[in-house]
């Protein structure tokens, strides 16, 4: 069972008692098993269904969220490994309803079709631009290569990241 193998990788048996983590700025106390996937807590417990379950094996990128600003696949990230850290989901990019420049650029560049991979793509692109405000094509592709888009919108996704970069880096 790959999910089982994956969760063992992150499982820290020394963690006991409730786990505390921050999601989009709000503190949460969890009493779930420490090897519970972060994705499950986000989606089924906290109702944050933006991050998607795709493959469950960290191969598709649909579940990507930020952990202390770094993109991680939430499907194989245990809540134990997220304890004490700040989780940002796609919902957290636009907390007051005003879209993040990456989200706006995805709309304008028509960088989505079915939209299932989009939350993960958007989150990864936002993290990329924080670290690299003006990425070139190679840097964008490198940052986004672990994200699969079955509709094949890749060229427009690269275009959208460039568009967001132009607007935010000045």
């Amino acid at each position: 069972m790959s999910t089982r193998r994956a969760s063992l990788r992150f499982y820290n048996p020394r963690v006991t008692g409730p786990l505390r983590l921050t999601v989009n700025g709000a503190p949460h106390e969890l009493r779930d098993a420490p090897d519970t996937p972060l994705l499950e807590v986000l989606r089924d417990r906290l109702g944050l269904t933006g991050a998607k379950y795709g493959c469950g094996e960290a191969q598709c990128g649909a579940c990507v969220v930020l952990l202390d600003g770094q993109p991680v696949p939430a499907c194989i990230t245990t809540i134990a490994s997220a304890a004490g850290r700040a989780v940002t989901t796609v919902e957290g990019l636009a907390p007051d309803g005003e879209l993040h420049p990456v989200q706006q650029a995805f709309i304008e560049a028509d960088a989505l079709q079915c939209g299932y991979c989009t939350p993960g793509m958007v989150v990864a692109a936002a993290a990329l631009l924080r670290a690299t405000p003006r990425p070139n094509d190679a840097q964008i592709m490198s940052a986004m290569q672990s994200h699969l888009c079955r509709c094949g919108a890749y060229a427009r996704i690269v275009k959208a990241v460039h568009l967001a970069a132009q607007r935010t880096a000045s």
Partner: protein, 325 residues
């Protein structure tokens, strides 16, 4: 004749119920052919399109709305699309084979064209005017000479038009389309980038369980025995065994995964070993060995022209083998 069914109109656009003719719930019967199956005239002046198609990234919401907007002469923004909800849409065989545009667009165009003519007829009756002076514009039927206007809402207060259409219902020629063929913003894009668009997997219901099935370790392996007790001992877990099928369900997906991992199954080891490696050769070998295999091979073989003749005159030759196994 099946009795007419009651259909709830979209609650977010005014609710209410209306009686519409029954849709044909069979693959052999012709597609539903009444305007009331497809279009509702909503109290706010918009029109809702009901189609049994699913939006799976082909942007069918846009193309279907465009077709209806064109025929009704209604602004694109005032057309809503209700898809896939089988309690609200007419029967459809499904979304497959790139058929949504070639099948559903002409059907909706015919429904909308028939609706437009019926609306014009209703207005002509009210005004005792000749239909030739009337046209549909911007959500109303207007009289070209007097300037009189009746909105769709005034003309169809019951929201549904019981008007049949068929393959001969005249359509607007493509050269006169004003909406289809133009770029339109994706209706659900904002929700999708914000993560608030709800996909089927985002819907949870009270008491819902998450299921996992046990897969055979090899192609052709048969289940010899399975011990469900460890899985069943887990709180809230259901485990089922029927023939070679074994499945578990649990209140969370994670617990379902643990329950699945706790199953102790013994499988036969098939003599014929097929894996990802060598799958093509294995299939190829079997192709000629069964009557079904021979028929399938015959059906899927397509030849046109001559590769041997064309190769010498090709400017550039690339050689590679592609298989889909």
């Amino acid at each position: 004749m099946t009795p007419p069914r009651q259909i709830a109109t979209t609650p977010e656009f005014g609710g209410g119920r209306a009686t519409i003719p029954p849709a044909a719930p069979s693959t052999t019967e012709p597609a539903p052919n009444n305007v009331a199956h497809y279009l509702s005239f909503d109290p706010d002046g918009g029109v809702s399109v009901h189609a049994g198609k699913a939006e799976v990234g082909q942007n069918v919401r846009t193309s279907l709305a465009q077709a209806v907007a064109d025929e009704l002469r209604l602004p694109f923004e005032r057309v809503r699309v209700v898809l896939a909800d089988t309690s609200r849409v007419p029967f459809d065989r499904g979304t497959f084979g790139s058929r949504s545009t070639p099948d559903m667009v002409p059907r909706l165009r015919r429904a909308a064209a028939a609706a437009r003519e019926a609306l014009i007829d209703r207005a002509a009756e009210r005004w005792e005017a000749d239909t030739s002076a009337l046209l549909s514009r911007d959500g109303s039927v207007v009289h070209a000479e007097t300037g009189q206007a009746l909105s769709f809402v005034e003309l169809v207060p019951e929201q549904w038009l019981d008007v049949p259409f068929d393959d001969d219902t005249p359509l607007t020629p493509a050269t006169e389309w004003t909406v289809a063929g133009t770029s339109a913003p994706k209706p659900s894009a904002r929700d999708m980038v914000a993560g608030t668009h709800r996909f089927a997997s985002d819907v949870t219901l009270p008491g819902m369980l998450f299921g996992r099935t046990l897969r055979a370790p090899a192609f052709g392996a048969r289940l010899e025995s399975v011990d469900l007790s460890a899985a069943r001992a887990m709180l809230g877990v259901v485990a089922l065994h029927d023939g070679d099928f074994v499945g578990v369900a649990a209140p969370t997906a994670h617990l379902a995964g643990r329950a699945l991992a706790a199953l102790r199954a013994r499988w036969t080891s098939p003599e014929r070993r097929v894996s990802d490696w060598g799958l093509y050769d294995s299939l190829k070998k079997e192709e000629g060995q069964t009557e079904g295999g021979r028929q399938l091979a015959e059906r899927s073989r397509q030849e046109a022209g001559s590769v041997a003749d064309a190769l010498p005159s090709a400017k550039r030759v690339l050689r590679a083998t592609y298989t889909n196994a």
